[in-house]
Symmetry: C2
Subunit: 337 residues, 2 copies
C-alpha cells in the first residue's frame, strides 16, 4: 500500500492512497482525514486503507491522477522526528577529515539527534536559503514511520512497530554545525526543515527488498542533473531500523507517527572511502562526504555547497526500474523577507 | 484567559476554558476540538474562546468543576518543543562543578536543544523510572507557546508571536547526559517526557507580572514536601522569551503551537551561587544545581537524585497568593514492563 498527503486548506493536508505505479490516487479522508490520524488508530484504519488500495489497483472506484508535485511530505508535520546516523562509515569520514578519532562506542551505541518536525518541506518545494555561508547541503536517507510500542521495547518489538517507509532529504547547514555542536546541545539551527518523498509505503510493498529491518536497494541522488550517489542502503548500515527504533524508546514510550531516519546512506569501497560515480564508485549521499574525501586526498575541499539555483533529486527505483516513493526534487532559492 | 486540556478518548484530549480561580471550566470543543487546533487558527479561535471565558467568569453558561488531576498537559503532544537555557548562571555552575570554563559566546548566543514532544506527561502523572542509576532530576521552568511567524523574524516579531505561557517539569536523566553530550548530537534518551502545568494562560492574564518578554514572579518547587526553590524568573535571565523564540526561527519558520522553554530557572546570590531556602537563599529549580554547589564547597555532592517514591511539586503564585497555572505534582514510580 502506498499513501500520500495532498495539499489542502489544512496544515496536515488530505490523505490519499496511491496506485503502485504512482499514476493514480483515491481520496481516503473518509477513513482517516490525515496520515497521523490513520497511524493513531492503525488497527482500524489499515484494513480499510488496504481495501481502498486494492480497489484503486482494480480500478473499481473513482480515482484521480496523482501528481507528485501536489504532494506534501506524507506527514506534513510530525510529533517525533528522530534521525539516526547508522552508516558509521559516514561518521568516521567526517572525523577523519578533521583529524579526530572515532570513539569505539560509536560502533555499538547509535548516534541519534532529535530533529525539528513542526513544518516539513514538500518533496518538490524550494529550499529557502538566507545566507550562502550557511553551507547548504542535502542528505539522502531512508526513514521508517512507527506505531506505538512501550518504553524499553525490545529490538524485535521495535521491528514489529514499523508501519511505513519513506526516503528523505535531511537538509543541513554545514556552516552552522561546528558552532552548534561545540555548544554541546546538538543540532538546532543547523537542521532546517526536512523534505520527505511524495509517498510512504508499507513494508510489504517492498517485497524482498525489505528484510524487516533494512532496505536492500540503492538510494539515488542527483546534483544539478548529474548522478551524485547510488549507495546500497543495506551495505555498511551498522545499525538497522529495529535497533534505531529501540534506541528511541529506551527512556520513553514509542508513539504512533514517530519518524526514525537512517542518517546519510554511505558505502565504503574496500577499506577506504567511496569513489564518485563517474570514477566507478557508488558516489555520495551528501556534498559534505565528497568534500571530506577531497580534504583527505588533496588537503582541501573542491566541491562547493549548494547555492540558489542548485537542484537536488533523490529517488529509489525497484529492481524493475520503477520509482517506489516518487522523487524528491528541490531547488535552492534565495530567502528574503 | 486560561485554557486546559482534559483527558478524553483522544490522544489530544478535549479543550476547555478554565476560570481564573481554577475552580471551574467550560467545554470549548465547539470552538476548537484541541488546543493545537485553536492555535492553528488563533485569529478565529481566540475571540470565541475569550467570549466563552468571560461567560464562565460571569457564570452565564453551563460549567463543570475543574480538577487539576483530570488535566493533560495543555498540548498533550506538540510539533515543536525547543528548550532554551536562558539562565546562564545555571550553565556556569554546571561547568564550574566539573572545572570547565564558560565560553564567552554563551552570554550572547542562546543554548537551546530540540526536545521530544510526542508524548508529554500529564501534570499529575507519575514519572516512570526503569533504572535508578539514570539519575532522575526535575527542572522547574517557564515556557511560552507561539503562533506563526516567518523565518528570520525579528526579536520584536517573536515577542508578538507569544500566545500562551505555562510552567513545566523538564524531567532529566542526569546519569545519561554526559555520555550523550560526549557523542556530540545533544540530548535524546537523557530527556524523557516533560510535564506541563494543568493550565496555559494568555499573557494578559499575568497583568504586570508579564512584561512581554519575561515573567516577574518566583517559580516555586518542592521536593518531598519541603520547599526546594523559589527563584525569581526575571532575575539572571540572560535571554528573554522574545530572544529565545527568535533563535528558534533563525533558519526555519516559526509554527503555531511551538513551545519554547526558559531552561532551569536559577538565581545567583551576589557574585556567588545561590543558597538553599532553609539558609535564607532562593534555593534551586533542580537537584543537579545543589549537587554542583555541594561539589564546589565540599568536593562531592550529598543530595541524591530522585528514586521511586519521591515527589516533586512545581507551582507559581500571583502576588495575592493564588495559583496561576495550577500545580505540577508528580511521584517517581518504578517502571517495569
Amino acid at each position: 500500500m502506498k499513501l500520500a498527503t495532498l495539499k489542502s486548506a489544512s496544515r496536515d493536508g488530505r490523505l490519499v492512497v496511491v496506485s503502485r505505479d504512482l499514476a493514480w490516487c483515491a481520496d481516503a479522508s473518509h477513513i482517516a482525514p490525515t496520515l497521523q490520524a490513520a497511524l493513531d488508530d492503525w488497527a482500524q484504519a489499515e484494513p480499510a486503507l488496504r481495501t481502498l488500495a486494492d480497489e484503486l489497483e482494480r480500478e473499481t472506484i473513482p480515482r484521480e491522477r496523482f501528481h507528485e508535485r501536489d504532494a506534501l511530505s506524507p506527514l506534513p508535520r510530525a510529533y517525533q522526528w528522530a534521525d539516526g546516523s547508522a552508516y558509521v562509515n559516514h561518521v568516521e569520514l567526517v572525523r577523519k577529515a578533521r583529524g579526530a578519532e572515532l570513539p569505539e562506542s560509536f560502533w555499538t551505541d547509535p548516534l541519534m539527534y532529535q530533529g525539528g518536525s513542526d513544518a516539513f518541506l514538500a518533496p518538490r518545494e524550494d529550499i529557502p536559503l538566507a545566507d550562502d555561508s550557511w553551507g547548504l547541503d542535502f542528505e539522502a536517507e531512508v526513514a521508517v514511520v512507527t506505531g506505538d510500542a512501550p518504553q524499553g521495547c525490545s529490538v524485535e518489538e521495535a521491528a514489529g512497530a514499523i508501519r511505513l517507509i519513506m526516503i528523505l532529504n535531511d537538509v543541513s547547514l554545514r556552516g552552522l554545525i561546528p558552532g552548534e555542536l561545540a555548544k554541546g546541545f546538538g543540532f538546532f539551527q543547523s537542521k532546517p526543515p526536512t523534505a520527505f518523498s511524495p509517498v510512504a509505503v508499507t513494508p510489504d510493498e517492498l517485497g524482498e527488498a525489505w528484510d524487516g529491518r533494512k532496505l536492500h536497494l540503492p538510494l539515488r541522488s542527483w546534483l544539478n542533473g548529474a548522478v551524485f550517489g547510488e549507495p546500497d542502503c543495506q551495505v555498511d548500515m551498522t545499525f538497522d531500523f529495529a535497533q534505531l527504533v529501540a534506541h528511541v524508546a529506551k527512556t520513553r514510550p514509542l508513539t504512533a507517527g514517530t519518524i526514525v531516519g537512517s542518517g546519510t546512506v554511505s558505502n565504503k569501497l574496500g577499506d577506504g572511502p567511496g569513489k564518485p560515480v563517474s570514477e566507478g564508485g557508488k558516489g555520495y549521499s551528501c556534498i559534505a562526504e565528497i568534500r571530506m574525501i577531497e580534504t583527505i586526498y588533496d588537503g582541501a575541499p573542491k566541491t562547493r555547497f549548494m547555492i540558489p539555483g542548485d537542484q537536488v533529486r533523490i529517488e529509489m527505483l525497484d529492481r524493475s526500474g520503477k520509482s517506489i516513493f516518487g522523487a524528491i526534487e528541490q531547488t535552492v532559492v534565495r530567502y528574503a523577507r
